[in-house]
Amino acid sequence: MSCHRAAWRRAAPGQQTSDARCGEHGKRGQRGACAADEASRPHSDTCDVTQRWCDGAMRASTPQPRIGVYVCHCGLNIAGVVDVVSVREAASLLDGVVIARDNKYTCSEVGQKTIADDIRNFALDRVVIASCSPRLHEKTFRTLLEKCGLNPFLLEMANIREQCSWVHPGDAAAATEKAKALVRSAVARARLLVPLSRSQGRVVPKAMVVGGGVAGISAALYLANMGIKTYLVEREPSIGGHMAMLDKTFPTLDCSLCILSPKMVEVAEHENIEVLSYSEVEKVDGQVGDFRVQLRRKARYVDEAKCTGCGQCASKCPVRAPDEFNRGMGERKAIYIPFPQAIPPVYVIDVEHCRYLTEGKCRVCEKVCERGAIALDQTDRVETVEVGAIVVAAGFEPYDASKKPQYGYGRYPNVITSLDFERIICADGPTHGKLKRPGDWAAPKRVAFIQCVGSRDEHRLDGAGAYCSRVCCMITAKQAFMIKEKDPAIEVYVYHTDMRTAGKGFEEFYRRARAQGIVFIRGKPGEVRGEPDGSLRVVCEDIDSGCVLDMRFDLVVLAVGLAPPRGLAELAQRLNLSHSADGFLLEGHPKLRPFETSIDGVYLAGCVQSPKDIPDSVAQAGGAAAAAAATCSRERIEIDPLGPVIDEQLCIGCRLCETLCPYGAIKMEKTDRGYKARAVEVACKGCGVCGASCSTRAITMKHYSTSQLVAQAEALLEVG
């Protein structure tokens, strides 16, 4: 290693030496020859990529690079702590720096024009920008370089904001020295940057939406109407999600399924949408434009093509099981359809309860089905689908109120959640819409709602979220209103900490609710006590009057929060998505990229990103669909050249890189000189693990070569 480095150092500016030519991959000491000797030999023909790359290095590295350094004030974000002028002055003294400037806002029109002018006037061939994180403007500045005729990868950025001024606000002197070191380091790398070209990736002009609730359905329709073939994947037997379980929607009190069902049918009939129900995402390979998604199509034990949804099978099935669509209140058969308006309108057999599948007996459904649609020998199928973009609309699950035993959920049958209430009041539900309490199916006379169960709550061990779930105040106002509509004589009390009714039409609805005589009590009860007579006792201060109220209720409804859905961590891992602190999925930028993610080609819609109501879910779905459509309507995707360069002469086929690569992006291939590593560009994310771990230093990363990194380190430490 020292041999080659010394060779590089000895090259005087302007001197073309064979040493310099092989600055990047001259032979190492173990072959027993000096780098300089080896460098004069021609390279092997099989070393095509590295040859081109080395040539490029040579072209770019000689004559002496002409570097422009731009130190940004970023208003006061940087300049408020770092002495940008002295950083600029220090930069101007560095080797190879032709011009150094400091600007107020480098990313602005003015700032960019300055750079463009300098590139032209000073014949710059490298640009170093000391400013904010590259995550913000690397793209912007690369585009600028391209416009000026420079290769976009001749840009280096030094982060003197997020990694300097913003984290050392109290120590201006030290922050300034650090900024100078970071700039020194950036210039050291800039000297060694080589022009690189992007490769082209294919784009599959199809999209996938994961999750068939209202957000997923909306995204699929928007995509399909833009002419994009879309797969809508849903793990339940039917699409519809939680919206299909609701009776009415606020603030208009539209019947939920009445507005959702036509959308569901539209999805089923749309020529551009293929509904893959009762299916789950198992594995995702590839990258933007070219994803390969492996799906598990779970066995229904019913042939989807033949089933007409007539229901004969269910009417004869001898097995009863708790009905999950009705939240356990009521039963269904082992062969069932989740709800009458299910899409697809196909029956499914419950593996856990079916007598045949558990004990080998029965088969009545098979006997009575006139279409011969029962297929008891069905198995799960694994299918792989190719898409260009993915929209994740996996929704939420309601907070499990049994985690707060003090409220009695699970212990007292008349303590229920808002979702349970929704099923009771729904015409399709276990009571056919009659307001009856589960304990004895009697009509309640006095009902209490308790808000914020599992939300705005620091009890992480109970699974509670610190966030506000946003929709529960309106859900309760709606449900309270519906109770009063059914029977104005029923007393309704809503125990809350705040009433949050901020959306369009919501405050007006809250006013109507008050006019109905619903009493809103500011005060949160600590527990619900079951009394021997079956009533539920709630002792709570009414803060606004200052009186502690000790009341008895027939029914208590817990307004549970929205939690991340079951299995989200696994799904996120498969897609390489991050979570935000609240457990939901992390958006690209909290303000400006609310439905993108850090993974190109993957978008978010609905509650999976953060709890929200139906209109917001649909709106976000529209945005996600537009972004996804833009991606998969392209001809090609440009893939940044971040992957490895493999010197096959040095590669000994030890497979270490293949073992360590988290993306399966480097594979050993048999050649006539043994196994050699080959990069799989479409899968590569440029993480650099292969380059860092190669036992013979055969791999270097295209845009982050070993010598560049070494030069950066040395510049930071001011050695060598």
Partner: protein, 176 residues
């Protein structure tokens, strides 16, 4: 309930608030999280004392503290009514740690010269011989009769602690 009504004094209009008070409480051991309170009232609704006497209302006490009613809170009788059952501490959705906030307020009241006689008495006992109940010859004899080991009478070290921390001085001051 007569003993518990919100009195005349409490209904008077407030014109002076001390904005520093809440920060002082937050600096006191136990009081660190007081400012997180969003007045939901879960504490009061589970409080066994509040259920019996509306004079004690932890939510209202914290409200007064955050508003900055320094004198009113520190000189009050109600801060001494906390039975330290920790129910509010367990249930508070904002992790305010109310029981410890109450302790912090009582500590501050003592430093300001207000100490409930019952607590003064206990502190003086412990400060006198290191225990609430003195262990004397008689006690040890009784114990011996039952086959129980003797206990050390005067715990000098414990008493020294009272001097070291300044509590002995605080107690020797004239006060409530």
């Amino acid at each position: 309930m007569e003993s518990g009504t919100w009195g005349e004094k409490d209904r008077a209009v407030v014109t002076v608030l001390d904005p520093e008070f809440k920060h002082e409480i937050a600096r006191e051991p136990g009081g660190e999280n007081i400012k997180y309170c969003f007045q939901c009232g879960t504490c009061t609704s589970g409080c066994p004392v509040a259920e019996l006497d509306s004079r004690y209302n932890p939510r209202r006490i914290i409200r007064m503290a955050i508003l900055g009613m320094r004198e009113r809170v520190l000189s009050s009788d109600f801060i001494w009514l906390c039975s330290t059952c920790y129910t509010c501490y367990e249930r508070c959705p904002q992790d305010v740690r109310i029981t410890e906030v109450m302790n912090a307020l009582k500590n501050m009241a003592v430093k300001a010269g207000y100490i409930h006689p019952a607590f003064r008495a206990q502190a003086e006992l412990v400060g006198g011989h290191g225990r609430l109940y003195e262990i004397d010859e008689f006690t040890n004899e009784k114990r011996a009769e039952l086959g129980l080991p003797a206990l050390q009478s005067d715990l000098v070290e414990a008493v020294e602690i009272f001097g070291m921390t300044g509590l002995a001085d605080l107690l020797s001051r004239k006060g409530a």
